[in-house]
């Protein structure tokens, strides 16, 4: 499913495609003509040294920023100039680098809010969440080991637990594509093991498609089907983890020899 050869793919299979995205901040070109594609059911990694433009690329995809040049296609639809909430509504989920949950709300309400059922139409919003939705929240909390904390305020959870909650929220939402910004950042090794497990299970059983930024090389090499490498805003390499590990340009970029 995830061979990295450049055979043209059917449009339906490509969940996300960027076409020469360029984003400038004043004189600085943060992202320079970057094209990437994420296909259904894949886990794709995005790596690169600090300041390579990874998060800026993510922001252009999610609509937080608007690309100066190029286009973003989600499920074949041009979403380049859509507002952020509309892109999210169209099936794009996002986990932030600094872990963001709704601290003043209970853990269960965080999950109920994440559910996309009923969407944003008025009748769906003005109805109380039904029992099946509540049952699903309980199930997911058990799954990520947060069972029993449903009525606790999310802000009182530890950092690692908040990360798991944020992941559970994405499982609740079931986006067509999930963007994760450094999921392994700042969590302890045993919890990292769990997270890898959850991500792989979601990928294999729920067919979740994931595009992730990661600094932890071990983690990204283990989990990703394909990897894109950015440096100085440019895409300098792409391929399987094995190919990336032996790519001289990648090694140079990380060692600062460019």
């Amino acid at each position: 499913m995830s061979d990295s050869t450049a055979t043209p793919r059917a449009e339906a299979e490509t969940v996300l495609r960027t076409d020469g995205i360029t984003k400038r901040f004043g004189g600085l070109t943060a992202v320079d003509d970057v094209s990437v594609a994420v296909n259904e059911g894949e886990i794709v990694g995005l790596i690169g040294p600090n300041g390579a433009g990874k998060s800026t690329l993510f922001n252009c995809v999610t609509g937080r920023l608007t690309a100066d040049e190029g286009a973003v296609f989600l499920q074949g639809e041009d979403v380049t100039r859509w507002p952020e909430y509309r892109i999210a509504r169209a099936g794009l989920g996002r986990m932030f680098q600094e872990t963001r949950v709704f601290g003043g709300m209970t853990v269960r309400k965080n999950l109920l809010l994440a559910a996309q059922e009923g969407g944003a139409n008025v009748s769906g919003l003005l109805r109380r969440p039904d029992d099946s939705l509540r049952a699903r929240t309980t199930e997911l909390l058990e799954y990520v080991d947060l069972g029993g904390l449903a009525t606790t305020q999310a802000g009182r959870l530890s950092f690692g637990q908040q990360k798991l909650l944020e992941f559970a929220m994405e499982l609740m939402a079931e986006p067509d594509l999930l963007l994760m910004d450094e999921p392994a950042g700042g969590i302890n090794p045993s919890m990292l093991e769990n997270l890898i497990d959850y991500i792989q299970t979601a990928n294999s059983e729920e067919e979740a498609t994931i595009f992730l930024i990661e600094h932890n090389m071990e983690f990204v090499m283990e989990i990703a089907d394909r990897i894109y490498v950015l440096a100085h805003g440019e895409r300098i390499a792409s391929g399987t983890p094995a190919e990336i590990q032996n790519d001289q340009r990648v090694l140079d970029a990380y060692l600062g020899r460019e």
């Binding site: 999610t62 937080r64 507002p83 952020e84 909430y85 509309r86 999210a88 509504r89 989920g93 996002r94 932030f96 963001r100 949950v101 709704f102 601290g103 003043g104 709300m105 309400k109 109920l112 809010l113 994440a114 996309q116 009923g118 944003a120 769906g124 919003l125 003005l126 109805r127 109380r128 969440p129 069972g147 029993g148 904390l149 009525t151 606790t152 305020q153 802000g155 009182r156 959870l157 530890s158 950092f159 690692g160 637990q161 939402a173 392994a184 950042g185 700042g186 969590i187 302890n188 090794p189 045993s190 919890m191 990292l192 600094h215 932890n216 090389m217 071990e218 990380y254």
Partner: protein, 352 residues
């Protein structure tokens, strides 16, 4: 620190389990409790309290309940602290007064007219000021209040600085039931919304608006809806108040002291809850009335001290503090912070 102190005080009086059970009970029987409160509120006139000081005090308690709860829809639930809510009150009061005197409309029709004007006003300025956050939002809303007050002072139709005297108004009992009815209706609406996804979105905006947007919510739409709802109830209260008071001028219609009191009430009772602002309004208004009779002229000093003590000692207010206390047991039982120590060392790959 402060929460530990509260815990110590509370612990000696009642256990967190008892509080938890009370919250559970209130949650399960919320609609019954609202109905019981409505009936209880309707009883005093039946038993002969039809006029006089206590009648006025009770009416004003309901009125402040409406003002504090309305402020909390936007200030507490949505996290946009407004300092301009009295603008809605004043506009409601003036439009009703003008319709009753100059257009000779009956009170019920006049108040519907006032509600329409307030809603349109809130819709327009909401779309502008709700782009701002925090201090900027607070200052902008204060600007709205001062501007509307000035407009009322300058126009001829509003009676300028001397205001409008309203003769031939309905008896006090009409306003008693009107304020009670609006308060009960508002409690029901806010409680219902707090159980729906709409209410969850408002809380989400309060906690992290960017994340809410990234999850697919057009936050402008929700904020504006909350703002308009708050304006509607505040405007209804204002509309009735003008006639209840038989006189309005720019000072009473856009009362600066009330503008602070209604916020203090929501804070002291507990922002972001349904019961909190109402409890705060009843409690603080009672205290203010007592102080006003016993120590004339000192009520604002006392109000200031009460606000400072609340904000420092009980930032979550009465209801918020109790709720926190109630959830304590469950939290420790399931090892809330237990994993926190293990998470202290962030895993940054040093070898790459």
């Amino acid at each position: 620190m402060s929460t530990e102190n509260d815990g110590g005080l509370l612990r000696s009086a009642l256990s967190s389990e008892q509080v938890d059970r009370t919250f559970d009970f209130c949650g399960r029987h919320a609609w019954t409790l609202i109905a019981v409160a409505a009936v209880a509120g309707a009883l005093p006139p039946v038993f002969g309290l039809r006029e006089g000081y206590y009648m006025t005090v009770l009416s004003e308690m309901f009125l402040f309940g409406v003002l504090a709860l309305s402020w909390d829809i936007v200030g507490g639930q949505t996290g946009y602290p407004s300092f301009g809510n009295m603008a809605f009150f004043g506009i409601g009061a003036y439009v009703t007064a003008i319709l009753v005197t100059d257009a000779a409309l009956a009170f019920p029709l006049a108040i519907v007219g006032a509600a329409v004007v307030v809603v349109v006003f809130a819709l327009i300025n909401g779309l502008i000021v709700l782009r701002l956050r925090g201090h900027y939002f607070a200052i902008a809303t204060l600007g709205i209040l001062l501007a509307t007050q000035q407009v009322s002072r300058n126009l001829a139709i509003t009676g300028g600085a001397s205001g409008k005297i309203l003769l031939d108004v309905p008896p006090g009992i009409v306003f008693y039931y009107f304020f009670l009815g609006v308060l009960v209706a508002e409690i029901a609406v806010v409680y219902y919304l707090s159980q729906t996804r709409f209410g969850f979105v408002l809380n989400a905006i309060r906690d992290d608006e960017e994340k809410a947007t990234a999850m697919g919510f057009n936050t402008t739409y929700y904020k504006t809806a909350a703002w308009v709802l708050a304006a509607l109830f505040t405007g209804l209260a204002g509309g009735a108040y003008g006639l209840f008071n038989t006189f309005i001028n720019p000072q009473t219609a856009y009362n600066g002291a009330w503008n602070v009191e209604l916020i203090a009430m929501a804070l002291m009772g507990g922002t972001g809850t349904v019961a909190g602002p109402v409890i705060g309004a009843f409690g603080l208004h009672t205290v203010i009335e007592v102080v006003e009779t016993a120590f004339v002229g000192w009520q604002l000093v006392l109000l200031g001290i009460a606000v400072i003590v609340t904000v420092i000692g009980y930032p979550d207010g009465v209801v918020g503090t109790l709720r926190e206390y109630a959830s304590e047991m469950e939290y420790y039982e399931y090892g809330g912070m237990a994993a926190a120590e293990a998470d202290d060392e962030p895993e940054v790959p040093a070898d790459e």
